[in-house]
């Protein structure tokens, strides 16, 4: 090879210059897009200025080269020699600037990294703060929810126990260490007859009828810590006594010192009365049965004695000693037969009529008969009869006998004190569909110890010769026969709050309308 053509180098130079111009502009375009997209990013700023300077340098150089090649191709060598120092100098200037821009890159990077680091740490701190805030918020929300749930449950529980306390039909109470009742439910106040305003002054000593019971109650609480099913008597505000079943638990403070008690008391008065009535009823039934047996057995020989006595009386003149003796026998035999007849009435073995009766009329009849003797004993009679009483069915004679007995008993109770008041009332109780006649006196009342015996045959508190002790027994039997009851209340609380006298309540059922017809059929009960 003797020579080497420069044409490839010339062509490469021209084509390369053109390509470099294109690539410089493309690079600058992307650098411009970058800086537009993220103007705050320092790196893109650096790259933009770098590309700009490089572009200037490349364009300057490439144009210089193209100019050179064109001038030389067309033979303008002299012109090129004039221009060459300028393009060269300019290129040198731009290349130096490019180097300077590049050198300062590092400082910018350092600054950028420092800012980036700070920004990152701030971002992390912010994220942590957000996480913490989120946790705190959730915790707060949960806490609120928990508190809300607990409050709701507490409220429901409180409501439940409050309802139980308020609506309980039994007395529920709380006492302090001095047995003063601090809190008591409405049923308790109702049971004891006190008002809510009296609660602060109320102590257990005020409601226990027997101080020994209170002592027993307190001792059990302090020693055992509880009292279970203790049967005691409470005294109501107006003085009447009620029977209660008491259960209580002691409350001790943190030092195990007795600080009070909480208890429940159930009123058993009604149950107890019913049980007594049941026992009494059973007793009376057995006594009646026995009385009926005795009466039947005595009635026959008594009839024989009376018969023979009357036969013999025909054989002797009444003035003779024998005749007078036989009269005594006849009189006493008749007295015995009356007693036997009363016994049979008590045991409901006697004949009974069944008629429609107005109880007011019966009571008026009885008062008409007894009023004279009542006046004699300075007893004032007070009537309180309902006008529209329903008709009852029964034996008017026997009922008259009942009320005569009761009025006589009242009169006897008041005659010792030289008079008194007799209250007769008659009312219809629609709820129980019964007519109640009450005979109340202001006498000495019935002692508690004999209360259970007053209906027993031959039981009397009157002196010998004044009564047989069959009056109340017979009355009891007659009322039982009519399907009713006799209730005794003694002593009775008067309108002025005094406890005095006795009241007997005769309660007779009102028959259904279809059976309340005018009948007069006599019949004997089996």
């Amino acid at each position: 090879m003797t020579s080497l053509p420069m044409l490839p180098a010339i062509l490469v130079d021209m084509a390369g210059s053109f390509i470099i111009i294109v690539l410089s502009f493309l690079s600058l375009r992307y650098a411009w897009l970058l800086i537009r997209r993220q103007p705050e990013n320092f790196l893109w700023g650096f790259l933009f200025y770098f590309c700009l300077t490089l572009g200037c340098f490349s364009v300057s150089r490439a144009l210089g080269h193209l100019l050179k090649q064109i001038l030389l191709i067309f033979g303008y060598t002299e012109q090129w020699h004039v221009l060459a120092p300028y393009t060269g100098g300019f290129n040198t200037l731009l290349m130096t600037s490019l180097a300077a821009v590049t050198i300062y890159y590092h400082k910018g990077i350092e600054g950028y990294q420092a800012i980036q680091k700070k920004a990152d740490s701030l971002r992390i701190a912010n994220e942590q703060l957000e996480v913490s805030a989120d946790k705190l918020l959730k915790l707060n929300e949960n806490l609120e929810k928990i508190v809300e749930n607990r409050t709701q449950k507490l409220s429901e529980s409180e409501k439940k126990f409050r309802n139980f306390f308020t609506n309980s039909k039994d007395m529920v109470y709380f006492c302090d260490a001095t047995t003063r009742i601090g809190t008591m439910n409405p049923a308790g106040f109702e049971m004891l007859g006190y008002s809510m305003q009296q609660a602060p002054q109320l102590g257990l000593q005020d409601i226990f009828y027997n101080p020994e019971d209170l002592e027993k109650y307190t001792e059990a609480l302090t020693t055992m810590g509880f009292v279970q099913d203790l049967e005691v008597e409470f005294v109501r505000a107006e003085g009447t006594v009620i029977y209660v079943l008491l259960s209580a638990t002691a409350i001790f403070d943190e030092n195990q010192k007795f600080s009070g008690c909480e208890g429940i008391a159930k009123d058993l008065t009604r149950v107890r009365t019913m049980m007594k009535q049941l026992a009494s009823s059973e007793k009376m039934a057995s006594v009646g049965q026995m009385a009926a047996g005795v009466a039947h057995e005595v009635n026959t020989p008594l009839g024989v004695i009376l018969g023979y006595a009357q036969l013999m009386m025909d054989d002797f003149s009444p003035e003779s000693e024998e005749g007078q003796n036989l009269e005594v026998i006849e009189r006493q035999a008749k007295a015995c037969r009356k007693i036997v007849a009363d016994l049979l009435k008590f045991s409901r073995q006697s004949e009974s009529a069944r008629e429609n009766i107005l109880l007011n009329e019966i009571l008026e009849d009885v008062l008409a008969v007894t009023e004279h003797s009542l006046n004699m004993d300075h007893i004032k009679v007070s009537r309180d009869f309902d006008e529209d009483l329903p008709i009852i069915v029964g034996d008017p004679e026997k009922l008259r006998q009942v009320f005569v007995n009761l009025v006589n008993n009242a009169r006897h109770a008041m005659e010792e004190q030289g008079g008194g008041k007799l209250f007769l009332s008659c009312h219809y109780e629609k709820e129980r569909d019964q007519v109640t006649a009450t005979i109340r006196d202001t006498g000495h009342g019935i002692p508690k110890k004999v209360m259970a015996q007053i209906f027993d045959p031959f039981f009397t508190t009157k002196s010998v010769g004044k009564g047989t002790g069959l009056g109340l027994s017979v009355s009891y039997g007659i009322i039982k026969e009519h399907g009713g009851v006799i209730e005794v209340e003694s002593p009775v609380q008067t309108a002025d709050g005094e406890l005095k006298g006795t009241a007997l309540h005769v309660k007779l059922p009102v028959p259904p309308l279809e059976s309340a017809i005018v009948i007069k059929d006599n019949h004997r009960e089996p």
Binding site: I19, L23, R37, T92, T102, I109
Partner: protein
């Protein structure tokens, strides 16, 4: 970091030292002869090469590891090569007296006449410096494009 700082500090001093090593005539107003332009240009090449090396090294040690930055490193590499070639080319231009040309058929028909030495071949080779500068600019273009696309993707995410 310390090395960078030191280089940064001593660079103006070195430049100053380099310029003052060959003072020429110590006149108040120094006259500048023709070779001075060439020297300045060559210094600029050196300065630019140093700046590119520094950029290459900076990218390598920075936290930026994405593809776009790697393209920029390749740009630096090719541009450094171009600087070396260009620097050599300018140096050989100064020695072009030993290279003989024939331009009997015009500028486009210019030929380098033999006998051929390595100097002539190197001379010829340095005239093809675009073979380095074009790839360098191409990778710069790729780098910028990739970085831009990355930012687009980040935005979409």
């Amino acid at each position: 970091m310390n090395v960078q700082k030191r280089l940064h500090r001593i660079f103006p001093f070195l430049l100053f030292l380099l310029l003052t090593m060959f003072p020429g005539s110590a006149w108040a107003v120094q006259s500048h002869g023709a070779p001075e332009g060439l020297y300045v240009h060559q210094f600029a090449h050196i300065f630019y090469t140093a700046a590119l090396c520094y950029l290459f090294w900076g990218i390598r040690h920075a936290v930026f590891k994405s593809k776009g930055w790697r393209y920029l490193q390749i740009f630096c590499f090719f541009m450094i090569l171009w600087n070396v070639v260009a620097f050599t080319g300018h140096a050989l231009d100064a020695l072009a007296g030993s290279v003989t040309f024939s331009s009997d058929t015009g500028y486009l028909g210019t030929r380098i006449l033999g006998p051929f030495t390595s100097l002539k071949f190197w001379y010829y080779f340095t005239k093809l410096d675009h073979l380095f500068s074009i790839p360098a600019l191409f990778f710069l273009y790729l780098g910028m494009k990739t970085l831009y696309r990355n930012t687009m993707e980040e935005k979409e995410v």
